[in-house]
Symmetry: C2
Subunit: 330 residues, 2 copies
């Protein structure tokens, strides 16, 4: 089914059908009705590929995330999609599983689809990809990487502050043996968190620590915890790169009959919903995904944010939240 057939049936030209379908005011009411009737009878659906091609814009935004299974990313996706829909865009989502190769495929795909804006919320970003995207002139937002210019914006969360707060808090509770559970991506922001951890912990002369990494999943968190204990190290506090992995850690501690927080304190990061639902609820650091999603949209669709310049650096401050997974050192 295409415009031509609808036009034939409605007894008008394809130009008129196009106008009617797109709600362009020029069309007379009676004509419009005839067109819609014909379209309905023929079970007509505008071909969006053709529309994008002819129109020069796809009315689609893209979001690439490292791991949509982790609610942190999904929360951003959700608000971004809502904004997009509200403004007549659709959101194409893609997952990289933290793999550089997949990231490259996703980027090519998004560019190939000629998305009108692209948000890249991944930690494995590499400069050559940023350049690649930059050269296409597609408005883009990167997360914790790259620098603002042209049509590229940049959202930067101050992890360092967050981790510092966590470490300070634990130290004030007399903890001295720390473990850091990260995931495999070596670059920012994990890298940043890890570095921040090292810096913070190094400030205390009596502190001992150990760092382990595993995949960003419940299993990954659990394995990481297992690894720590297998090494013989006995932390009094386990600081996790995010809540998702922390839930895995909690599970392993339960297995080992260690009580949280009496025997070991555990902290997460992100403040995903699950952090409130774990047992015990996690002490964590809140990252405002709503705000990030919103700002991302505004950066991608400048018309939606009058007064705010495109291509800017957006800094987000995290917020420390104490729940029940932390307590005085044993």
């Amino acid at each position: 089914m295409n415009l031509k057939e609808v036009a034939k049936r409605a007894g008008v030209s394809i130009a008129t059908v196009s106008r009617a379908i797109n709600n362009i005011p020029l069309v007379k009411g009676a004509t419009r009705r005839r067109v819609f009737k014909a379209a309905a009878e023929l079970n007509y659906f505008p071909n969006l590929n053709a529309r994008s091609l002819a129109g020069g814009r796809s009315r689609a935004l893209g979001m690439i995330a490292s791991n949509l299974e982790n609610p942190f990313f999904f929360d951003i996706f959700r608000v971004l999609e809502n904004r997009a829909r509200a403004h007549g865009y659709e959101l194409l989502a893609a997952n990289t599983d933290y793999q550089a190769e997949q990231l490259e495929r996703c980027v090519d795909l998004m560019i190939g689809r000629r998305v009108d804006g692209l948000a890249v919320i991944v930690s494995e970003m590499d400069p050559h990809l940023i350049r690649k995207i930059d050269e296409t002139d597609i408005p883009a937002v990167f997360y914790d990487v790259g620098s603002a210019k042209h049509r590229m914006s940049n959202i930067r969360v101050r992890y360092k502050n967050g981790i510092e707060r966590v470490v300070e808090y634990l130290h004030s509770l007399q903890h001295s043996r720390f473990a850091f559970v990260g995931h495999h991506s070596v670059l920012c922001p994990t890298g940043e968190r890890q570095t921040a951890f090292l810096e913070a912990v190094s400030r205390y002369s009596n502190a001992e620590w150990r760092i382990v990494a595993n995949e960003d999943s419940l299993d990954g968190g659990r394995s990481a915890a297992r690894e720590i204990f297998a090494s013989g190290f006995r932390p009094t506090a386990i600081i996790c790169v995010n809540d998702f992995m922390a839930v895995g850690v909690l599970r392993e501690l339960r297995e080992q009959k260690l009580r949280v927080p009496e025997d070991v304190s555990v902290t997460g990061f992100d403040n995903i919903k699950l952090a409130e639902y774990s047992s015990p609820p996690l002490t964590t650091v809140h990252i405002p995904r709503d705000r990030i999603g919103l700002l991302t949209f505004e950066a991608l669709v400048p018309e939606s944010a009058i007064g705010k310049p495109p291509g800017r650096e957006i800094v987000v401050d995290p917020e420390f939240i104490v729940r029940e997974s932390t307590g005085p050192a044993p």
Copy 2:
């Protein structure tokens, strides 16, 4: 950047560039190299919209889910995407949040994009939409709804069996006061589970029960549990429509200082990863998402499944799994 420019720079015709880019063997090695060089220099990305339009196929599959935040759906998404990618397709995902209106939008979008196959894994499906999709001749798979024909397949999970096993098991443990926590979608499969619950529980003359519903989320599960207790009913066992909500229920019970399973038994459904990570790990019913994802793909892309007829009914049997959230009635 388009074919023409690449052709000019490489000193060949656009037909040749097209062939080279698409790895059609006819092209001579030297020519191919010239083309790729030119393409790289010009930062060329094939316009996928144009390709879909001209080629008559989009090389994309669509998946519409009720709630991608629920790992049940996400697990299916994951394997479907893997299969798709392995076969040169991309997967377009969309979320309905259980809203009929959004479902309709998503369907229109997928048809508009001319996906080569569409999986609709939602519980709020309505017959008119099935017809709509049917008339487009796009191969489709529905979950627990519609009937197999033409190019439409149909995956049906035997929930009834699963719920029956759960209820029987609890009854054998001397439970007699049951609560069922569902989510708001009234149609299959939730409806089916709910009905199955009623049938199963009605078989025992001494059984009492109560049914509540809330949104499919952690919060929804928690609220549902709160609602049960607010009503004055004191169940010895809470049967949840899925694991995701069950985790919310567990949280509320903790709040009420009720021990699981000593004071109350709780069961989930689906067997998502989180079910093993909750405290206590959930007794649940396994639904093989991997298999569902795989079968869905095969139904959508018949070439991938030689020997298997397109448009068939696929029946999946769930499997009862006992963990630690269930025990003898108090």
